[in-house]
Symmetry: C2
Subunit: 476 residues, 2 copies
């Protein structure tokens, strides 16, 4: 069992103060591009901190590309501040302060709109799958003896649901026993428990870049250091870069979504998955697999990375939030060697989950409702994805910079460098349009010209109109 | 925003290693009763740790009563190890190692039986309140547009439920606005968020002794230090002792249940509540009010401590788990000055709660179902409490040591000192009987001769039989 911390004020740790001081020096050209920073010993004296603290600060700056370590020489400035092509460098400089992002994150959550361009445009479209699910939950409620309301659910969660999950996973080529699963309150809750159980404060966690902002928020809240590994829209996390980083830093964990990462919907090829597990094995890294999008596959559901895991070092976290309903708040974790700790942490921090809800979902699955829902959903989503891509035909972007994912609920757009999607967020909001700007998917201020667009919702007239408004707003 | 940590392996922190080393020395009589421990400086040298670490270890030992600080003299052994009256001192010595208790805690949760002597003895007794509630939730599910399943609930939780809670609280004399409440996944989840938001690792938290084991587990998991303040079965936490402790240690927070503490069901008189707030104010202490039992009041529901809080330093945590159903997993926090942090932590660690569930409960409350349920429940519980006390008439205990609470779901029994309820736990289990032994309500190994008995369930023939078996097991 390892320990974790929570913090949100960016400068509450000493290493952050040292980091901010160094960053300011680079920004103000006290040390210019290519120049050497003061020695570690000198930095310890200057700030009255330990060597470990200084190393933390340097590692963090290096991970962001501001400096680089040269063996036996020291740390050198590598980043060219105020590059000539960008007139305004405010974003590059502001973005690493996570406070901005956390406000934005909360703002988007507040609008219940992380995945909708136009949350006011609710259609009356009915989902037969959700109807059946709701009937099934209502029946579970009716059938539950009222006396049962006086008992808590067991720590691992309802056995009937775990059994159905085991059957569902077997269909995608993953054999998992019920006793290896622990029910959670959704994927984010699972990721939280996984990180709590396997990491301790200050540990370095590798994530995909661009990657899910919910994970970035969580890592920051838990006092973990983030290192961003480039992830392509086609094949996911870059293993060459990961290997280099593993050789350089003591990375403790790696959070990855092999079956459709967000924002790009990348699907990691199996040989790359094997490479990831080999690297994890040789560097003793915990692999946390965020599997939330696997059931949105437009074709066959890919087997998870976890299916290749022979040493129990992969923790898989998933839920029904993207495949079925975001309002269920039911997910699961397969914790591998951390299973017991995860289960205990779940009990200590929130005792249990709703049994009737799990039983209702289990019944829905047992009756074939879930499989039927996924079949229908697949066609619907494919249509929405294609309609979105067609709608972007007249946008001034290279088709090359547009991903056409095989799963997930969104596409990732690289717009011309002059576009600033963070500024566009506020402008769009004034017109009732909610976008998820690129910088949200990184802590290093990258992706100001990028945008995630979701195809989770039907493209009715209002949403198409909003898309047109957004085009005007971004390019005119 | 402050930071917190999680740990369960008792010796993972340096202060714990120092503490264990000192404890062992006391146990092995390297330093005997009344003798002086090595100086702080000497301990720093011996263990190669900082002064703060040594002070942590000493404070912890002192809080457990093993040593005491004498001004300008040092630390002295105060605890008499192997006191003559106890033949076997294993429990006294083992109990501070929380690992044992956490296993026991998980074991009890696993049996879904924290509050039932005989969980196998489910009766067919129906609860009309729960029936109505379940119908109301099922209706909320039917009425929810299926498209709504594609959106997360807002960070604070459903507005209709918060509004009903505000009305319900006003009836007991507490005016609280909807915007001051944040919905959680139960009381334990609320306590977790409250501690995460207001404390940081290593902080000292005062709790009632005996007090709820779930809180003790949580504090241990978060790397917080526990200090136990004696709490009487009639009036709750002792303010004289608390004041002394506040003068001696930098206590950061105090977790307290003024409206019926567990295990004893104590109700804290209003003047004592005022004294608590005065002390909290003058020592800058966060007061975390665990209000879970207030709705089980056998008479009028007492106003919460939070109603007296003029400086927003009380965080109230509650839920429907004891009053309505443990399977809802719906609670609330009124976070005072920590409201924003608590809400953000909730979102970062689990995004949201189920909206339909909240709406179903809100409707049940709006229609008067909750108030009617509480009225019925009041009579039922009073009957069960009295029947339990009557059943204990022939137990060889002093009537004085038996509390007759005005709320809560249990009584606290002090048995003859020869009885060991921790041993009885395993013996009872072999007969299918689940008890909650006294040592679970402390981390200091106290209360081996104590027992919490619940009256939450109907006293049918099987439970009365189990009570008789338990008597034999304990006293013969």
């Amino acid at each position: 069992m390892r320990g974790l911390s929570v913090s949100r004020s960016p400068l509450r740790y000493r290493y952050q103060q040292v980091e901010a001081w160094l960053f300011e020096g680079i920004e103000q050209k006290r040390w210019r591009l290519g120049e050497k920073l003061p020695s570690i010993r000198r930095l310890c004296q200057l700030h009255q901190v330990s060597k470990a603290t200084v190393l933390h600060a340097l590692t963090h700056l290096e991970a962001q590309g501001w400096i680089e370590a040269r063996p036996k020489s020291g740390y050198f400035v590598t980043y060219q501040v105020n590059p000539p092509k960008a007139v305004q460098s405010n974003n590059t400089i502001d973005a690493p302060r996570l406070a901005t992002l956390s406000d934005l994150f909360l703002d988007i959550m507040q609008r219940s709109a992380a995945f909708d361009l136009l949350p006011s445009s609710l259609t009356l479209e009915e989902s037969p799958g959700i109807r059946t699910l709701n009937r099934s939950i209502a029946r579970a409620l009716r059938q539950q003896k009222t006396q049962e309301s006086q008992y808590y659910d067991s720590p691992a969660g309802d056995a009937s649901l775990r059994s159905q999950l085991s059957i569902h996973q077997a269909r995608r080529g993953w054999q998992v026993g019920c006793d290896q699963l622990c029910i959670t309150s959704g994927t984010q809750h699972g990721l939280f428990l996984a990180l709590m159980a396997s990491c301790q404060r200050g540990d370095i966690v590798a994530v995909e870049s661009p990657g899910f902002y919910g994970v970035l928020q969580l890592l920051e809240s838990l006092g973990l250091q983030v290192i961003e590994v480039p992830s392509s829209a086609s094949h996911g996390m870059d293993m060459e870069v990961l290997e280099t980083m593993l050789q350089r830093w003591p990375i403790r964990a790696c959070v990855v979504s092999p079956s459709f990462s967000t924002p790009s919907g990348a699907l990691m090829p199996i040989d790359r998955q094997r490479r990831l597990l080999d690297l994890a094995e040789s560097h003793d890294v915990v692999v946390i697999e965020d599997d939330i999008y696997s059931d949105t596959a437009l074709g066959e559901i890919p087997a998870p990375l976890k299916a290749l895991d022979t040493t129990e070092r992969v923790i898989l976290c998933s839920s029904f939030s993207k495949s079925l309903s975001r309002d269920l708040r039911v997910g699961w974790v397969c914790g591998g060697r951390w299973h017991q700790q995860i289960q205990q942490l779940k009990v200590v921090t929130q005792l249990a989950n709703s049994r009737f809800l799990q039983q209702g979902i289990a019944h829905f699955m047992a009756e074939g409702g879930f499989a039927a829902h996924l079949r229908r959903q697949r066609q619907v989503l494919q249509g929405r994805r294609d309609q979105l891509i067609t709608s972007l035909n007249d946008w001034p972007i290279q088709p090359m910079t547009l991903s056409r994912p095989l799963g997930g609920l969104s596409i990732w757009l690289e717009l011309p460098e002059t576009v600033n999607t963070l500024n566009a967020y506020s402008d769009a909001l004034r017109q009732g349009i909610v976008i998820t700007p690129g910088p949200l998917f990184s802590i290093s201020g990258r992706y100001t010209n990028c945008l995630r667009l979701s195809f989770a919702h039907p493209w009715n007239e209002q949403r198409l109109q909003a898309l047109a408004q957004l085009k005007t707003l971004l390019f005119e």
